[in-house]
């Protein structure tokens, strides 16, 4: 899932300074799971903003609404009536959702309420860690299911740098070196031979920005190939 963290309150409040009626738009999927921008967080932020404006004696109103996800137009459509009532929106979706919201409602400023951090997993309650950098050319088949692009601080594709000390990464001594883990995993599975040949350089042509993907079954619909 996409992991994000809510922006500090003073930053959000600062962005809303010029406005008097705001919608705090939550997203019920990834950012809800990582406790950054779901229904509960949207409600809390709206309340915080109301309390702060009352302390500041500023005429201001904030309300909250949350949809299943903001990366689909059909769900964003559900905000239409609410958007008409405000002069600014704070979206608590990931960067993709925020942009999609802004694209759908260009008449209103859509402000980011979170910083989007990474694609990751839930390690424990309240703890997430990165696992994928969406390179569009997955190496996991030859690296024992451990991604060197993500888990190696340098994203090296052919083995460890010279830096790890006692198996820990030179950048973060608390974290295991990805390549030592890869080596040990492949050896455990008797597949270390997969690493005999050097891996060629990554093909950055496969990860243009912004990327687009059309499922093969839909190519005719979009007049592609």
């Amino acid at each position: 899932m996409i992991v994000a963290r809510r922006k500090p309150f003073p930053e959000i409040k600062g962005m809303l300074d010029p406005y008097s009626r705001a919608l705090v738009a939550g997203c019920g999927t990834c950012v809800a799971v990582c406790l950054a921008g779901g229904e509960k967080e949207a409600g809390v932020l709206a309340s915080q903003l109301m309390i702060a404006s009352s302390v500041d004696k500023k005429e201001f109103y904030a309300s909250a609404a949350t949809v299943e996800r903001q990366c689909d137009r059909e769900f964003l459509e559900l905000f239409r009536d609410r958007v008409k009532e405000v002069d600014a929106v704070v979206s608590l979706a990931c960067g993709a959702g925020i942009q999609f919201f802004a694209e759908m409602y260009p008449e209103v400023p859509v402000l980011p309420g979170v910083d989007t951090s990474f694609i990751g997993v839930a390690e424990d309650a309240g703890e997430w860690s990165e696992r994928c950098r969406s390179c569009n050319q997955c190496y996991l088949g030859i690296t024992g299911g451990i991604c060197p692009v993500t888990m190696c601080s340098k994203g090296l594709l052919n083995g460890p740098c010279s830096g790890p000390i006692h198996g820990k990464c030179e950048v973060d001594h608390e974290r295991n070196c990805a390549w030592i883990m890869i080596y040990e995993r492949l050896e455990q599975q008797s597949r270390i031979g997969l690493q005999d040949a050097p891996a060629p350089p990554m093909n950055h042509g496969l990860r243009p920005h912004p990327s687009r993907l059309v499922h093969s079954a839909y190519k005719r619909r979009f007049n592609i190939g």
């Binding site: 601080s153 340098k154 994203g155 090296l156 594709l157 052919n158 083995g159 460890p160 740098c161 010279s162 830096g163 790890p164 000390i165 006692h166 198996g167 820990k168 030179e170 950048v171 001594h173 070196c177 390549w179 030592i180 890869i182 080596y183 050896e187 270390i192 690493q195 040949a197 050097p198 891996a199 060629p200 350089p201 990554m202 950055h204």
Partner: protein, 289 residues
């Protein structure tokens, strides 16, 4: 101009390499003076490329100055700061300036240095850089781009000589050799025995191995903990004795230690040469060899 270092390694003569860190200034007079003090005592000078991610004069520029001064050089080329386009063009520049020996490294992470907010590049890793330069020289591969006149690189890489998880490091070293590395310089060792994993692990390879040695600064020792010097593990008892010694005694005992190690390496017949680094103590290098 053929690399004297390459010829020296081929002849089997023990090679002495001194590592030079270009300054963070626009004045290369100190570089020239230091190299001049090594003239006749070292076979080649290894020019570092923003080591420990601390910005200094470009390795290509410093190396070219040394070539003009009449020295044999090995230019370090780090993947941390350049994508494949910049790496290739820098290497071509080196070839155009008669710099043949290139040490291909991934590069210490920005976290160690003076610009921790930089974007780490690592478009290639050291194995891929060696492979790309070899392909460029051979006129093959996707990045070769058909050179019109022949040129040659003498490519090397760093190897970690350590019993600390030696197998993954050996795997990487073998890939470097298979990509085209002709010489390897180990990260600093402090005792002969530390070389065993890499020497026995690569005994079936024709690659020439030079042992790296380090004359540390007092500051490095005073603040030393495992991991504080990139890729370098100083044996515990040595750190303790150096820390306990106080600065003055440390300066003389560390120099004596490195001098003895260099002498052991020279007479051992186990390595093709030695590469001496001395952070902030480069003027002492000539006394160690």
């Amino acid at each position: 101009m053929a690399s004297l270092f390459k010829e020296g390694l081929k002849s089997g003569a023990f090679q002495i390499v001194a590592r030079l860190v270009p300054p963070r200034s626009a004045n290369l007079a100190g570089v020239s003076a230091l190299a001049a003090s090594w003239k006749g005592k070292v076979n080649s000078i290894l020019v570092a490329d923003n080591p420990s991610a601390i910005m200094g004069v470009a390795s290509l520029v410093s190396a070219e100055r040394l070539v003009r001064d009449g020295h044999d050089v090995i230019m370090t080329l780090s993947c941390r700061d350049r994508n494949r386009m910049a790496l290739g063009s820098t290497a071509l520049g080196a070839a155009a300036l008669n710099i043949e020996s290139i040490l291909c490294v991934s590069g210490d992470h920005f976290n160690f240095g003076d610009h921790p907010e930089s974007k780490p590049v690592y478009d290639l890793d050291s194995v891929q850089l060696i492979g790309m330069l070899r392909d460029m020289q051979d006129g093959s591969g996707s990045t070769a781009n058909g050179p019109t006149e022949p040129f040659s690189f003498f490519l090397g890489a760093v190897a970690r000589a350590t019993a600390d998880h030696s197998m993954p490091h050996l795997m990487k070293a073998r890939k470097k050799i298979s990509a085209g590395a002709r010489f390897l310089i180990t990260l600093p060792i402090f005792t002969m025995s530390e070389l065993e994993p890499v020497l026995s692990g690569l005994s079936d390879s024709p690659v020439k191995i030079l042992a790296g040695v380090l004359l540390p600064s007092y500051e490095q020792i005073r603040s030393y903990q495992d991991g504080s010097i990139p890729g370098t593990l100083i044996p515990e008892e040595l750190v303790r004795s150096w820390k306990d010694a106080g600065e003055e005694a440390f300066i003389s005992s560390s120099a004596a230690h490195v001098k003895k190690l260099v002498s052991e390496l020279k007479t051992s017949g186990r390595v093709a040469g030695v590469c001496v680094s001395a952070t902030g103590r480069e003027s002492e290098i000539e006394g160690l060899i």
